[in-house]
Structure formats: structure tokens, C-alpha cells
């Protein structure tokens, strides 16, 4: 890496997960030159492949479908119910949800498929046998909507504990859940023998995906042998049909087996998560967005003595740097970044957007981190966790607070800087597991933050080269007309 040549653009997006990628694509479409800096893969690469926007507020284990409100209404209800949730800060802008989700589907070239927010959530079967309400996700997973089929659903098992999926247990749990939800579906386990005689009992998910990719006919034959006498309307398969696009494998299966097929959302060791991450990075490249690897930091931030109270770096503008490794070691080799605006899409604990060194801190600008309604100044993390695992975990909702323009807030409530925006996991108030808003929230906030950053950048600086060509290039690569 050159230590002298600065990286120059209108907008810097920190993080290349779902929020960062959508923010970068949105800023690019708005005409800005964008650089995305990512440290590594984060929570998006570990995600299930489903994209939750907001669950039905009336849904419970006794009534899994709840009141079947539209996605828009579910988000509005979440904003009303939880004043500290990001949707509450963005309440006046929730009508932009439709535009944001449509943009995500279009700008990712169909990598993500969302329901119209005016419609109800899709009902997917989670790998734990729970009915999961989700606005969309990867098309192969979003196609597993249980409400879009009648009759019998088959859950295909590969007889592999490494997939954390026991088709028998899953089918029984799904039958119970459907009965509680008042959905008339019979769910059968279909154990196929694809890997039963394999000499490698410890094959990982992505290795199974590679095998299926290489010989999908073997899977089709295996499923045909296992199919029951009674007609099955939908087959839900483990999410390991391909490491890349599973559409060709799904098409072949549907042709050979004669049944509609979809993938289940993934648990841990997610193949769809990596698929999503790699797909987003490809889209960034297609849109002419530069992706650089390294850690962003503000030069001189390490000079201050450790403090239990944040010291926001207001002087960041001429001091932004990108290092190829841990900043303490490589600060001297770091490259200067010259941009008008910054979008923080750095995630939370996995992505590195929130760290703990004595206290929870945001490592780039040292913004205050809110947890459980207060700025953290070094409280014991155990106080921010709850024993019951289904309960909302305040520690998992830690992050920076934002205003309606997605500008991070100082503890006084004032915006930190008009040129800095935050989106996705780094924003406080959302516990993805308990609140049921994960990738969908990242997409929505990413879209808004990307557009804000582009607008603000345009107001500050002269147009950069290629700005006018950007929307056309993006639209062409997404196969749509330029706006």
C-alpha cells in the first residue's frame, strides 16, 4: 500500500456488509464517487439469507402469524412500541421503506428479493422449526413462503448433523407451529440418501454445497427415491444447494422432481450468508465502486490517554487514514483518505463498529455508545444481558444513537457532524434476534444514509469526475433504466 497517495472520493463508506453495500450503491446512484473500506467480513456473511424488516407485533409462540399486518405497519408498530429503536428516530421517514426495498432489489440485480412493504411478511420455516416472518431475502430462501403453497410441504434432510438440521424434528416442530398458526399444512420429513454412504462424515456445509454444485443430478435422484407416495407441493432443502447462485440447481431439481423447491434459512456456518456477502461485493464492483481492505482510523486517536468518557474526534476530516493492519503497529504506513462525507456501516461487535476497551466505544470517531438507555462508561456487561435467552438483550442493541438524518448524536443530543452518517448494526436500539429487524433494517438505513451522504457531499464539493455517468452505469449493470 502506498503511504503517500491519498484515497479520494465524495463519500467513504466504512463496512461492506448489507448496510454498507446498500449505502454505497445508493450514494453512487445519487451521483457520488464512493469508496468502501472494509476490515473483513462481518455479520452479513454469517446471516441466514432471510432479510427481516419488522415482525408482526401480535405474533407470539401461541399465535405465530399475529395479526398479519403489512410490513410497513409492522415497522411503524415497532417504532411506536420501542422509542429507542432506530425506526422510532426514522418514524417520519418510514414511508420511504417501499422505495428503499425496491432499490435494494434493483441495485443488487435481484440478489435480494423483498415483498412489497404494503403486503404482509412472508412466512418462512426457520432451521429451529419456528415460523419466521420475513420481508424477503435471497430469492432461493424467500421462495419458501409457507403461505404461498397449499397441501403438503416436504423438509429434505441429508442425514448430516453438521447442518444442524434434523428433518424429522424440523417437520414435527413445523407441523405444530402451522397448527398453532391455523395454517392447514402437512409437513413431512424426507430423508434422502445423498450423503448417507459418504466416506466423509464431517463434511462442512460449504463442502456439501460444492458437491451438489458439481453433481445436482445426484441430489435430484436421491430426492426422487425418498419422495413419499402422497403429492408434495413444496420441498424445503438445506441451504447448501450452491456456494454461488443456487437458481440453476433449484431449476434442475424442480424439473427432475416435479415439485417446487426452495432453501431453508441457514443457522450457523451459513452458506447463504457468504453467498450474500460475495454477491454484494460483486455488485459494488459492477457499479464502479472501489472496495479497499483495511482499517479506517483518525490519525492521532491513539495519543490520548484511555478514558472512560468518549472524546469525539471533531478534527477527523484531514486525519482519516486507512491502514492495512492493526492501527497501533501500522499507523506510519497508513494511507490518507480525503472525502467529503462518511457513512459508518461498521456493524456492531462482529464487524468492529463497537468495541470494548474498559467501556464500549466506537473506534473511529469515539462516539458515545448507548446501551440500555444510557451512554456506556464502563459498566459491567453482565448488567446489560438477560438470563432468559428469548428476552431482549440490551448489550446486543448497543450502538450510536442517530437523528432522523442518520447523523450520530453526542450525549447532549446534538449531531456529531453534518458530514458523518451511520446505518445498520452500529446504530443503537435494535437487537436483531428479539426485534426481528436485521438485514431489512440495514437495507433501509443504508439506503437513507447513502443518499444523505451523497446529497451532503454534493452540497460541499465540486462534482467529481464521472459523477453524471454513475447512475447510468449502475442502471445498466442492474438491467434497468436510469432514474
Amino acid at each position: 500500500m502506498s503511504g503517500t497517495e491519498p484515497l479520494t472520493a465524495d463519500v467513504l463508506v466504512v463496512g461492506a456488509g448489507a448496510a454498507g453495500a446498500i449505502a454505497a450503491l445508493a450514494a453512487r446512484e445519487a451521483g457520488a464517487e464512493v469508496i468502501v473500506a472494509r476490515r473483513a467480513w462481518g455479520a452479513t456473511a454469517l446471516s441466514s439469507g432471510a432479510a427481516d424488516v419488522a415482525p408482526d407485533p401480535l405474533a407470539s409462540s401461541a399465535s405465530p402469524l399475529g395479526g398479519r399486518a403489512s410490513v410497513e405497519v409492522c415497522a411503524l408498530q415497532l417504532a411506536r412500541r420501542r422509542p429507542d429503536h432506530p425506526y422510532a428516530a426514522l418514524r417520519e421517514r418510514l414511508d420511504g421503506l417501499r422505495e428503499a426495498l425496491a432499490f435494494a432489489s434493483r441495485a443488487t440485480g435481484g440478489l435480494l428479493d423483498f415483498a412489497d412493504p404494503g403486503e404482509e411478511n412472508r412466512v418462512l420455516l426457520s432451521p429451529f422449526g419456528v415460523l419466521k416472518q420475513s420481508a424477503g431475502g435471497l430469492p432461493s430462501i424467500a421462495a419458501g413462503d409457507l403461505l404461498r403453497v397449499d397441501g403438503t410441504v416436504g423438509v429434505v434432510g441429508f442425514d448430516r448433523p453438521v447442518l444442524e438440521l434434523d428433518a424429522g424434528h424440523l417437520a414435527r416442530a413445523a407441523s405444530d407451529a402451522c397448527a398453532r398458526a391455523g395454517i392447514d399444512r402437512r409437513v413431512l420429513a424426507i430423508e434422502c440418501d445423498l450423503l448417507r454412504w459418504s466416506d466423509l462424515p464431517l463434511l462442512r456445509s460449504h463442502e456439501i454445497a460444492a458437491r451438489i454444485e458439481a453433481d445436482p443430478e445426484a441430489l435430484a435422484a436421491s430426492i426422487r427415491r425418498a419422495l413419499p407416495e402422497e403429492p408434495v407441493q413444496l420441498l424445503l432443502l438445506p441451504p447448501v444447494l450452491s456456494r454461488g447462485d443456487p437458481a440453476p440447481v433449484l431449476r434442475l431439481l424442480e424439473e427432475r422432481v416435479g415439485v417446487r423447491c426452495a432453501e431453508l434459512p441457514a443457522g450457523s456456518r451459513s452458506v447463504p450468508g457468504v453467498r450474500l456477502q460475495e454477491g454484494l461485493e460483486r455488485r459494488l464492483a459492477d457499479a464502479g465502486i472501489r472496495l479497499v481492505e483495511g482499517e479506517v482510523f483518525v490519525d492521532g486517536a491513539g495519543d490520548a490517554a484511555p478514558s472512560l468518557v468518549e472524546r469525539p474526534r471533531r478534527d477527523w476530516h484531514d486525519r482519516l487514514r486507512l491502514s492495512a493492519g492493526p492501527r497501533a503497529v501500522l499507523e506510519g504506513e497508513a494511507r490518507r483518505i480525503s472525502v467529503h462525507t462518511v457513512v459508518l456501516a461498521s456493524g456492531k461487535f462482529i464487524g468492529g463498529g463497537v468495541e470494548r476497551h474498559g467501556r464500549l466505544r466506537e473506534p473511529i470517531f469515539d462516539l458515545p455508545i448507548w446501551v440500555d438507555g444510557a451512554v456506556d462508561e464502563g459498566r459491567w456487561l453482565g448488567d446489560s444481558t438477560r438470563q432468559a435467552w428469548l428476552e431482549r438483550q440490551p448489550a446486543l442493541a448497543a450502538g450510536v444513537r442517530v437523528d432522523a438524518s442518520l447523523r450520530p448524536l453526542l450525549r447532549t443530543g446534538a449531531a456529531f457532524d453534518d458530514r458523518v452518517f451511520a446505518c445498520g448494526g452500529v446504530v443503537a436500539g435494535n437487537d436483531p434476534a428479539a426485534d426481528g429487524a436485521g438485514i431489512g433494517l440495514a437495507v433501509f438505513t443504508g439506503y437513507l444514509a447513502g443518499r444523505e451522504a451523497a446529497t451532503r457531499s454534493r452540497a460541499r464539493g465540486a462534482p467529481s469526475e464521472g459523477r453524471s455517468a454513475a447512475p447510468r452505469a449502475m442502471a445498466e449493470s442492474a438491467g434497468t433504466e436510469a432514474p
Binding site: A40, A45, L46, R204, R243, R269, V271, I350
Partner: protein, 168 residues
């Protein structure tokens, strides 16, 4: 305690031990420790080793590195089950490390560059793999010091070939 026991302990303390110190092979504390525990894989942990152990402990077992591990499947599965085992298991106990001998002999640390680049917590997989090979080599040498001649020969062979020296 009986008089006989007292006499025996006195004999050991006043006669045998001083004579052993004068004429026997006693050695320093570290040497004696390694003689006893080296064969079990317990070798000294200098500060640079501790820094590497701290880096390895950042692993959150997400498994992303295994998805980019080209050697998984290319090496016999009984010997090697993915790069994530390096921080998750082998780096945690040098006793476990002895069981990783076949895996560490077979891997190429440089091939972990892609996996290292996506690690969410920045575990230095390339350096960790090279360090584990070096630590295993040290364990083998210590094991050989306190073991039989045939093991000593084996350790010498390791030190001069067969991946015994530190890689990278």
C-alpha cells in the same frame, strides 16, 4: 511418626540429598520441569508466544475461514478438519498440539491469506499456522530430551527436515 521413619527422613535429608547435589545430575528448575513435563507437550511460553495466543483467542468460531480454506478436503480428513481448528483447538493447549502433528506437517501456512482477510476478529491465521509448527517442533525437542533413544532420533529428523523448523 515412628522412630524408623524419622531416621529414614533424616538419612535422606542429611546424607543422600547433599551427596546427590554434590555428585548427581540435578540441573536448574526449568530443566527439571521440562524433563518431567516436556514429553507431555508443556513447553515454556515466552512473551511472543503469549502475544500469539492472545491473537488466537480472538477467534469467535464463526467458521468463515473454513469456507475459504482450499486445503480442507485436499488433506486427509482424519488429519485435518479446517483452518479454524488452529485458533479454536491447537492454540489453546500445547498438549493438544502433539495430536495436530500430521495436520501441521501437511498444511501450507501461506495458503491461509484469503481466509485471514475475511476473519471478522483479525486472527492472524498465516502467522498462527507458522507459529504452531514452530511450537510443535519445540515440544518435540523437549519430548525427545526426556524420552527414549528412538524418539530422540525421530526428533532430530524433525529438526532437520519433515517440517520441524519454523515456517514463514
Amino acid at each position: 511418626m515412628s522412630l524408623r521413619a524419622d531416621l529414614y527422613l533424616g538419612w535422606r535429608a542429611l546424607i543422600v540429598q547433599p551427596l546427590r547435589r554434590l555428585f548427581g545430575r540435578v540441573g536448574r528448575g526449568e530443566e527439571r520441569f521440562l524433563e518431567n513435563y516436556g514429553p507431555e507437550g508443556l513447553v515454556p511460553t515466552p512473551p511472543e508466544d503469549k502475544a500469539m495466543l492472545a491473537a488466537a483467542s480472538r477467534c469467535i468460531s464463526c467458521g468463515l475461514c473454513d469456507q475459504l480454506d482450499g486445503q480442507l478436503g485436499a488433506i486427509a480428513r482424519g488429519d485435518y478438519d479446517g483452518v479454524s481448528l488452529l485458533p479454536r483447538q491447537y492454540a489453546r493447549s500445547s498438549v493438544e498440539l502433539l495430536h495436530a502433528r500430521a495436520a501441521l506437517d501437511a498444511i501450507d501456512p501461506e495458503s491461509y491469506r484469503a481466509a485471514e482477510a475475511v476473519c471478522p476478529t483479525g486472527v492472524p491465521l498465516v502467522a498462527l499456522a507458522a507459529w504452531l509448527r514452530d511450537r510443535l517442533h519445540r515440544s518435540r525437542v523437549h519430548a525427545a530430551r526426556g524420552a527414549t533413544d528412538d524418539v530422540r532420533i525421530d526428533a532430530r529428523a524433525d529438526a532437520h527436515g519433515r517440517g520441524g523448523a519454523a515456517a514463514g
